[in-house]
Structure formats: C-alpha cells, structure tokens
C-alpha cells in the first residue's frame, strides 16, 4: 500500500459573517493515498468545496491539521502557501477559468513562469502537458476559439504542467455535456494512472463519481460515508 498524500485530522472550519458563525466543517478526518482518484460528493453547503480549498491551501482551517506530502500546511502563512501551491497543487475549476486574452499555450505556461525554469524546459513542459490532453495542435488558440471540453482540457494541462503530485478539481465536469464530461474524466483517470497523480474531485454528479476509485460523501460538514468507486 502506498503512503498517504493527504492526511486531514479533526479539521473544523467556521465561517464568520458579521455576528453570525457557520460551522462549515465539524471535525473531518480523511486520508488520501498516493495515486488515488477520490470523489467528494454531497449536497450544496455540505462543506465539500471548503474541504477541497483547505487541501489546496487557498483557505485555512479554524482548527485541526492538514498534512500534504508530510508537510503540515495549516501552519503556513499566505505567501508560504502560494509558493507551496506552485509546486504541489494543480487546481481545476468548474468554470475552466482560463485567462481569456492568453492562448492555450500561454495559459498552460502561466504557472511555470513562477518556477523560473529555463525557457527551453518551460516549453517542453507546456508541450508535454498539451500533448497529454491532446491539444498540442490548438496551442495558439484563444479560449474563446475552443469548445467547453477543450477549454477544460487546457485547464487540466495547466494544472499538470508544473508536475504537481496532487490534482484537485472543483466540479471539473460541471459545465460540460455528458459526452465531454465522460471524455474529461476518462482523461483524468488515465493521467492519474500513467503519471501517478493523486486526484481529489468535488462533484454533484453520481455519473462523474463512478469514474473515481473511491467516493466520500459529505453532509452538513461531516464525512458520512466512504466507499470504493466503480473503477
């Protein structure tokens, strides 16, 4: 058995809006082993996106520990988290979130600019990522010139380009039709197996969750059920 990539221990998250406090996560424990494709399911407001954001280091827990690749990121400050994310996290959004004025190539290159790689190596990594998602021939296209499925594949390439060990997806197929969603999930599954990536995905869609190795169900800030997926 491979070691855990993510270890979440007793994590609480309270959102404060003025005098009101909302317990979004109420003591969550979760372990994600290396190479696993995990689907987080649950109704809106169940806390699954918050949990994903905590794993990504774009939000901080109120209490508890989040250890990713052996490092307790819950102790990092914002700039440390940003630097850590560059090398360790690939984040895929529901709405693709490509920069509209940059080409597919430039969008994929964006996180690599932070790594200060030699331009030749940067080019190789961008092309490898675009080839992995089958869009090398569309590298000069702007997002507006691509279909939704292609945009999401560029977003996946952007997440893959810095070669992070952990990929996180917040409803990555939420804006896609069923065929495109199936193609994107199939691609993610292949990439995880071939490249040894760990992938955690938030989804509402039971069909999408079937592609995962394991499904974890959340409700009202608690992790209720943890079962093996269809694969």
């Amino acid at each position: 058995m491979k070691g855990p990539v993510v270890q979440i221990e007793g994590v609480h998250k309270i959102h404060r809006r003025g005098p009101e406090s909302i317990d979004v996560l109420k003591g969550v424990d979760l372990t994600v082993p290396e190479g696993e494709f995990l689907a987080l399911m649950g109704p809106s407001g169940s806390g699954k996106t918050t949990l994903l954001n905590l794993m990504a280091g774009i939000d901080s827990p109120t209490s508890g520990r989040i250890v990713v690749h052996g490092r307790d990121i819950s102790r990092f400050n914002e700039d440390q988290l940003a630097a850590w994310r560059t090398r360790n996290i690939g984040y895929i959004f529901q709405a693709y979130n490509l920069v509209p004025v940059l080409t597919a190539y430039e969008n994929v290159e964006l996180p690599l600019l932070l790594l200060r790689l030699p331009s030749k190596r940067r080019h190789e990594q961008v092309m490898n990522a675009l080839e992995a998602v089958g869009l090398a021939d569309r590298r000069r296209h702007l997002p507006s010139q691509l279909s939704g499925g292609q945009e999401q594949r560029v977003a996946i390439a952007r997440a893959l380009a810095p070669d992070p060990p952990l990929l996180l997806g917040d409803e990555p197929t939420g804006n896609l039709d069923r065929d495109s969603a199936g193609a994107v999930l199939g691609l993610i599954g292949i990439l995880c197996r071939e490249l040894g990536k760990t992938f955690v995905m938030v989804t509402h869609d039971p069909k999408a969750a079937e592609a995962a190795d394991r499904v974890a169900r959340m409700e009202k800030g608690l992790l209720l059920e943890d079962r093996a997926g269809a694969l």
């Binding site: 954001n53 774009i58 940003a82 994310r85 979130n97 004025v101 940059l102 430039e106 964006l110 932070l114």
Partner: protein, 381 residues
C-alpha cells in the same frame, strides 16, 4: 511569454479604458510641459538678458519701456559722467504694449556700438552690409524663421505704419528673446516713425560694476530737474519690473501645470481600479496557481507604469511638436521669450508621469494583492 506580455494583454483586453487613461495622462503631461516651458523661458530670458555691468536709463514717468521717451541728447550727458565707460541709445517700437503672441519688435540701434552692447553673432560681411546701408536690418534667427525672411528681402511692416527695411543679415544670440528682434539703424527708425531726436532708453556700461547703485542715483539726480527726468536701474531690475505683469501669471499657470498632473492620478487610478474590479476572479485564479502578493502587486503596478510611461511619452511629444510647430512666443513690454522646452524638463515630465501613475495604481493594487483567494472567488460567484 513573460510578465510584460501578460501586462500588455491585460491592458489591451478592453482597450478603451486604458486608452482614455493614457489620453488623460498625455493631456496632463502636455499641459505641464507647455506651462513649465513658458515659466522656464521667462527665467531664461531674465537670466541671459541681464548684464551685471549695465544700467538702463529710461523715462521716469513711464513704466512701459516702449512708451518711454528720452531726448537723444541725454546720451551725450551720460557719456560725460564719472564712472561711465560707454553709452548707447536705443529706440524701439512694437506693435503693442500689451501681451501678444505675434509681436514684431524693432530696435533702433547704433551700428557702431551694437556688438559691444548686444550679444549677436553673424558673418562679418552681413554686418558690414548692414552698417553701410541706411534702411538695412539685421533680423534675429527666430524672427527670420517665423516669417520666412531671407537675406536681401525687402520687408514692409504694415502694423508699424509701413516701416520698410531690407534684410542684410540674420543673427543668432545667446540672449533669450533677442533672436526674435529686428535691428535697424537708430536714425533711420527715428525718421521712419516720426520721432527725430528721441530714444527709448540708454544703456550705460559701468567702469566699475560694483558702483552701479551709486551711479544710478547720480544719473537720476543729474536729470531730475531736466525736461525729461530719468529712472535708472540695473538691467535685471529693469527687466523684472517690465515683465512683472506677466511673471505672476506665468507663475500661476505653472502651478496649474502641476495641478494638471492630478489628472494622471485620477485617470490611472480610476482605470486600474475598474480594471481590477472586473478581473477579481482572474487575479484569484493567478493566486490559486501560486502567485504571491508581491507578484500580483508587481503585475498590477506594471499596468499603471505602462499607462504613465505611454501617456508621458505622448504628452511630451505633443508638447514638443506643438511648441516647435507653432513657433510660439510670448512678449511683454518689448521683451520676447519662447518656451524653453529643455531635455531636463521633458525628462522631469516623464519621471513625474510614471511615478504619479504608479503611485495612483498603488491603492487598488495593494487591495487586490491582499485579497484572499477564497474571498475573491466567493465575491464574484
């Protein structure tokens, strides 16, 4: 791709807004350059036109030099006074005694003395031709350029009662304003303007430059009971008094020029603030990818920097073209000066433009750099 390319992309995605910001900066910088150049032109004229060893003697009751009238005989009396090394008389006529921007100033001078009292430079042959011919004129380079006059050309100035002269030489001068003047023989100008025996003022060169104050008092005392009492002042004091009416105005417009730079702050600050508001999600995405606060700050400020640099360059170029193309000059009380658009002023305008634009973008850039990713994503959802 590099950071600059991303910044340029960011600016050109909605080109109208940054274009308007650049236009506002350009207008502000052009205005600043123009009024500052006028201010510096006036300073330059006062600095280069006033000599420390020369006194000016003019009509005690006329503060406007062109209206000053002294009998030419005063020159002889001045030459005989102790402490006086040399004297020359001048008569000058201009089209108006008020401020105009298209003024023709004609100086009646003594050809034998003009080179010792006036800083003019021209070929010896041209000066000889001028000296030997009554009705000849030496024309300053700027006046010749402005009116397209050539050596040998006969000119009639309708605004000065048809005063006619033949251009025999074109001179240059280090004295600001003199290159806009026309020099003709004193006696010829007296006759042509029906002022025989009259001069506007006398220049007195001191034997001892330290003795100027005492000699000025002595001169005025000497003529106090004559039909034409005099007022004598150092050349600098004379010029300061003559241009005092416009000096305050120039100083005020100079302040307005600095005030106009407020447009830079307003234009760039507003543009960047709106641009950032529209791109909150994109900036949140950049931060999710790993962009740290200093990097986001640098990206945002570089947009403001580019607006300031582009607007500054356009404004500086516009001011330069405007001033050069129009041959703009300002004249007051017979003294002319052109805006002094020096390289140092252009550089100062560019630096101010870039610094102010970048500073204007700082509040919005700081705000977005401090924005937390989750809050930014939630804000636009």
């Amino acid at each position: 791709m590099n950071w600059l390319r991303y910044t340029v992309h960011a600016l050109t995605r909605a080109p109208l807004r940054p274009s308007l910001a650049v236009l506002a900066v350009a207008l502000a910088v052009a205005l600043f350059c123009a009024v500052s150049a006028v201010d510096r032109g006036l300073d330059l004229m006062l600095a280069t036109g006033a000599r420390s060893d020369v006194l000016v003697v003019f009509d005690r009751f006329q503060s406007c030099p062109p209206l000053s009238k002294l009998p030419e005989a005063h020159r002889g009396a001045l030459e005989g006074m102790e402490g006086v090394r040399d004297v020359t008389a001048e008569l000058f006529v201009i089209s108006s005694c008020s401020r105009v921007t298209d003024l023709v100033a004609v100086y009646g001078i003594e050809p034998g003395k003009v080179r010792s009292f006036r800083d003019i430079d021209l070929p010896e042959s041209e000066f000889a031709a001028f000296s030997s011919e009554r009705g000849a004129a030496l024309v300053g380079r700027r006046a010749a350029t402005r009116y397209g006059w050539k050596v040998g050309q006969t000119v009639s100035l309708e605004r000065l009662g048809g005063l006619t002269f033949t251009v025999r030489g074109i001179f240059t001068s280090k004295t600001e304003g003199l290159e806009s003047a026309i020099l003709v023989d004193l006696a010829y100008l007296q006759i042509a303007t029906s002022q025989p025996g009259k001069v506007t003022l006398c220049h007195v060169r001191l034997a001892d430059p330290e003795n100027g104050g005492a000699l000025a008092v002595a001169i005025d005392r000497h003529f106090a009971n004559s039909k034409s009492p005099t007022r004598t002042a150092s050349e600098r004091a004379f010029m300061d008094a003559a241009v005092s009416s416009i000096a305050g105005l120039v100083e005020f417009t100079s302040l307005l020029g600095y005030g106009a730079l407020g447009l830079v702050v307003a234009g760039v600050g507003n543009s960047l603030s709106m641009s950032i508001r529209d791109r909150t999600r994109e900036i949140a995405i950049l931060k999710t990818l790993g962009f740290r606060r200093p990097q986001v700050l640098r990206l945002m400020l570089s947009e403001a920097f580019i607006c300031g640099a582009a607007g500054g360059a356009i404004g500086v170029a516009a001011a330069w073209v405007l001033i050069r193309a129009t041959h703009f000059e300002l004249s007051v009380e017979g003294f002319s000066f052109a805006p002094a658009l020096s390289p140092s002023l252009l550089l100062e305008a560019m630096i101010l433009s870039v610094v102010l634009a970048t500073a204007a973008g700082l509040p919005a850039a700081l705000r977005v750099a401090r924005l937390r990713v989750v809050e930014a994503l939630r804000e636009v959802d």
